[in-house]
């Protein structure tokens, strides 16, 4: 069901952890729906020097968190804002349809962390302008309602 890439990132997740005095922290999702992602950024000179994550969620949630952190590490803030859920899915060699929402969460977690950083910097950014994912039926709330059939 999962690609080898997903299994690799799931079983050896990169960048797990916290950053003590993070430049920005973003948390998305909720426990009721079964996934929460929290991303910590350390930004210097507009460059993402370090990034860590903590995730409560399924295999895909962990794998997307892991690969998303890798994809933005060393990038500028603006480059990181360009990250889309589609890019995450591609980097993982695909995800099962029911798990696409995890890639959306990963994208949103990165943006939330950057937003937090921006705010701390006194800049105002509507990261939602950058949100690259298409409206998705599998969003959390509908998801929690889904029945087994």
């Amino acid at each position: 069901m999962y690609s080898e890439k997903v299994m690799d990132h799931f079983s050896n997740p990169r960048n797990v952890g916290e950053i003590a005095d993070a430049s920005g922290v973003g948390e998305v999702g909720n426990a009721k729906c079964g996934d929460i992602m929290k991303i910590y950024l350390q930004i210097e000179d507009n460059i993402i020097k370090d990034v860590k994550f903590k995730t409560f969620g399924c295999g895909a949630a962990i794998a997307t968190s892991s690969i998303a952190t890798e994809m933005i590490k060393g990038k500028t803030v603006e480059e990181a804002l360009e990250l889309t859920n589609k890019a995450v899915v591609e980097a993982l060699d695909g995800l099962p349809p029911a798990k696409i929402h995890c890639s959306v969460l990963a994208e949103e977690a990165v943006k939330a962390a950057i937003e937090d950083y921006m705010k701390k910097q006194g800049k105002e950014v509507k990261t939602s302008e950058y949100v690259g994912h298409e409206p998705n039926e599998e969003e959390c709330c509908s998801k929690c309602e889904r029945k087994c059939h």
């Binding site: 299994m7 009721k32 995730t55 962990i62 929690c144």
Partner: protein, 397 residues
């Protein structure tokens, strides 16, 4: 899985077919392959063995052979019992009583019937998954035509007071069906003593083949047909008989009931060793289901702060096959309706693990799980933003 270990602890999802069972089935593929409806020798031979299987099933349940109908599995048996009894008795009433934590084969059938004008009461269960006889009694109205309550739950293993419910239903003249798919082969059943009017079972849950089951229908019960067509099964269930499947089911149920006590004692020992070990080693853990009234092989935990699928995949990489919720939801994103029914909050229901023990499991398997599982739970909690918030504390819930 990596390494050479392959420890199967998902016997509630399905079992392997035992060698003795497969051996009895084999001649019916290539040699005795006749259609039991044919009057020539090939047909008569096949029919004879279908009837032998029918007698074996009847014996295992305390029923008459003429009350046994072969189906394609537990789901078909459930669909037939519920729809068949509902439509056959709609002149008497339109009310059905069941519980909110049945298998989906029951629940979705009831939901379908609701759209067709039937009324269904979904009784709650308590924190251990037990339904209360009082609740059943109070739910009965003049229009009640059917009560269907599962014998043992597939996720948490809770065993219901079937004989009492059966007696209540019989006294009130209401049909009583029980989905015994998880119970057959694990629990002693006697449809007469327990006042059961209809009972569903499925061979692949007790070391028989997949794709074959039984609906027991007490003599005199009014039921319309579900699969219409040829005159098979005394005109009540159409379709060329799955002869190898039927033969396999017959052998499997015979083996399962012969060894029932011995096997269930063995499994209970393993089960309790596993439960005690896990509760001791892993904090923030809840045992789901009833402490005593539970299937001999069923273990079901909720581990706080982590999610079930991630847990399963990690176990799988260590060669341990378990499940999270029912098999049919284990690929899905929903928390199990059974765990919600016993009152777990969503976030805890998400972190559940079902390990169901069976014929192949040994004490070494249990010890291996006790070695591996705590590490995995620890690793996932370390990764969880929920755990970070807790710190310290060591209360099992």
């Amino acid at each position: 899985m990596n390494g050479t270990r392959a420890i199967y602890m998902d016997h509630a999802a399905t079992t392997y077919t035992k060698s003795e069972v497969l051996e009895e089935m084999l001649p019916f593929f290539k040699e005795n392959f006749g259609n039991p409806s044919s009057i020539h020798k090939f047909g008569r031979d096949a029919l004879k063995h279908v009837d032998i299987a029918r007698v074996r099933v009847a014996k295992a349940l305390g029923a008459e052979p003429s009350e046994i109908y072969f189906t394609a599995g537990g789901s078909e048996a459930d669909n037939w019992a519920i729809k068949g009894a509902a439509y056959a008795n709609k002149s008497k009433g339109n009310h059905i009583i069941t519980t909110n934590f049945e298998h989906h084969a029951l629940l979705h059938t009831c939901e379908y019937l609701e759209k067709e004008g039937f009324e269904v009461t979904y009784l709650p269960v308590d924190e251990h998954g037990l339904v209360s006889i009082e609740d059943v009694r109070n739910a009965i109205t003049e229009k009640t035509i059917l009560i269907s309550i599962m014998y043992a739950n597939n996720e948490i293993g809770t065993i219901q007071p079937i004989a009492e419910i059966g007696k209540l239903a019989r006294d009130k003249g209401i049909y009583f069906h029980t989905d015994a798919v998880q119970a057959v082969g694990s629990v002693k059943i006697d449809v007469k003593e327990q006042n059961i009017d209809m009972l569903s079972l499925s061979a692949h849950k007790f070391y028989g083949p997949k794709g074959i089951g039984v609906l027991y229908v007490r003599k005199g019960i009014k039921l319309i047909n579900f699969v219409h067509g040829g005159a098979q099964e005394r005109g009540r269930r159409a379709g060329t008989e799955n002869v190898p499947g039927i033969v396999g089911l017959g052998k499997a149920i015979e083996l399962a009931t012969e060894n029932l006590e011995e096997q269930s004692k063995r499994l209970m020992n393993l089960r309790d060793r596993l439960i005690n070990g896990v509760m001791e080693k892993i904090p923030y853990t809840r045992l789901n289901g009833h402490p005593v009234k539970r299937l001999p092989g069923n273990v079901n935990f909720s581990f706080q702060f982590i999610e079930g699928e991630a847990l399963l995949l990690n176990l799988d990489m260590k060669g341990i096959a378990g499940s999270s919720g029912s098999a049919c939801t284990s690929g899905s994103l929903d928390p199990s309706h059974v765990l919600l029914a016993i009152g777990l909050p969503h976030e805890i229901a998400h972190g559940s693990l079902r390990l169901t023990l069976g014929a192949v499991n040994t004490e070494e398997d249990i010890d291996y799980v006790l070695e591996v599982l705590p590490e995995i739970v620890y690793k996932l909690r370390q990764m969880s933003p929920l755990y970070e918030k807790v710190k310290g504390g060591n209360t099992n819930v």
